[in-house]
Symmetry: C2
Subunit: 234 residues, 2 copies
């Protein structure tokens, strides 16, 4: 299977730096320039983002991702209402900092220029290669795909936000999903006033970035306090 290939597989220093710039500057965006005021999205952007997703790896090559573009304004409003209801339920369910959470902007569904729902396809139980014992590998594959979209959008200067505040069964019904399909993401896509310098939850003091030593172990889970959950658990 490996083909003969004498080219240096390493990219140039500049190319490596560009990739790292993208990894560092990608942000989960919730503030968008309202669609009415925003310059149009670059031609073909949406198709390119789906193509980027489609270049992601998937367990057993199952390509479990499906994308539904929401172009109907009334549907967008119904979708927003579902998200808003779940945002308030989450605020109520938090053991503390409820009011603080309510102040944090978590989505730009109404303002953004394009809205995509990402779902798992139905019939996944037939795919057992690489997931006989780890059925959640389909979700992991969708994570890889959306990360590709995020990076591709950032490079074009376009913001993307992943919203996961919704009842999956209610959203599935709203979009006519077949049994077994499951929505995982509402993606808000559009021009942004500016990319955040740091993740919003970090800036809001909602959590702090863990030191690498707290996430990288050797041969065995360590028997000390690093093993526990992070101090801020909401």
């Amino acid at each position: 299977m490996p083909i003969a290939d004498n080219r240096d597989p390493r990219y140039s220093d500049d190319e490596i730096a560009t990739l790292w710039r993208t990894l560092r500057e990608r942000r989960d965006m919730r503030h968008f320039v309202p669609a009415a005021d925003a310059a149009p999205l670059p031609d073909g952007l949406l198709e390119r983002l789906v193509e980027a997703a489609h270049l992601a790896p998937s367990v057993g090559f199952m390509q479990p991702w499906r994308f539904i573009r929401i172009s109907d304004p009334a549907l967008r409003e119904r979708l927003h209402a579902q998200v808003e209801a779940e945002r308030l339920r989450t605020a109520q369910a938090l053991p503390s900092r409820n009011e603080e959470f309510r102040q944090v902007k978590i989505e730009g569904i109404r303002e953004c220029q394009e809205l995509l729902v990402v779902t798992l396809m139905p019939g996944r139980e037939k795919h057992i290669v690489g997931r006989r014992t780890l059925p959640e590998m389909d979700v992991a594959s969708v994570g890889c795909a959306i990360q590709n979209m995020w990076l591709a959008a950032r490079a074009e200067g376009i913001g993307l936000g992943w919203v996961s505040f919704f009842e999956p069964l209610a959203l599935a019904e709203l979009l006519g999903l077949p049994d077994g399909a499951r929505p995982l993401a509402i993606l808000c896509i559009g021009r942004v006033p500016a990319f955040y310098p740091r993740p919003m939850f970090e800036d809001a003091g909602w959590g702090k970035r863990l030191p690498l030593a707290d996430v990288l172990f050797e041969n065995r889970w360590p028997d000390d306090e690093r093993a526990g959950p992070t101090p801020t658990a909401y």
Copy 2:
């Protein structure tokens, strides 16, 4: 929250092309140059890969990922034995093409230069922001993190393969994971003879890449044959 920023957020055409090159050339690798014959890995590579992972988004900023570097050769062998057993169980469980599957190389655990196990942290049930109704968002975040590692490795010319053939509870016991932690990936990392031109499962005829029209819908799941599972379901 959005800061004033008058710079053009769009990267240059060359930078965008570099990102796309990385997205296109990233591969799930199973063939590695045996560690004894391979040039050493670039200095600090492992730490850079974990840093790339750590730059990924995570739901509610929970950073659910933990990495265990396997440096003990005997432990690597025991881990390989678990994977080999699951590979054979998967072959037996397939409804057809069992022998064909047995011929496909699925991992390079013994040959690769570095081996990492990626696990979900314990105590995740306390984190409800963005996952009260979608608990699998922690898995999706780990998918984003590993995709970042994959791209960063590819840019340095280093192969990475995600192996998901194992019994999570058995692997958890082998590595002393606390209750609630769950392994999701064994990552094989190292120099490769060559990067595959296409995904191995695609080249092996195991599946074919779906046309974009089969994965991108508008406003509603379509009421036609596209709605069903892909024709090759293993």
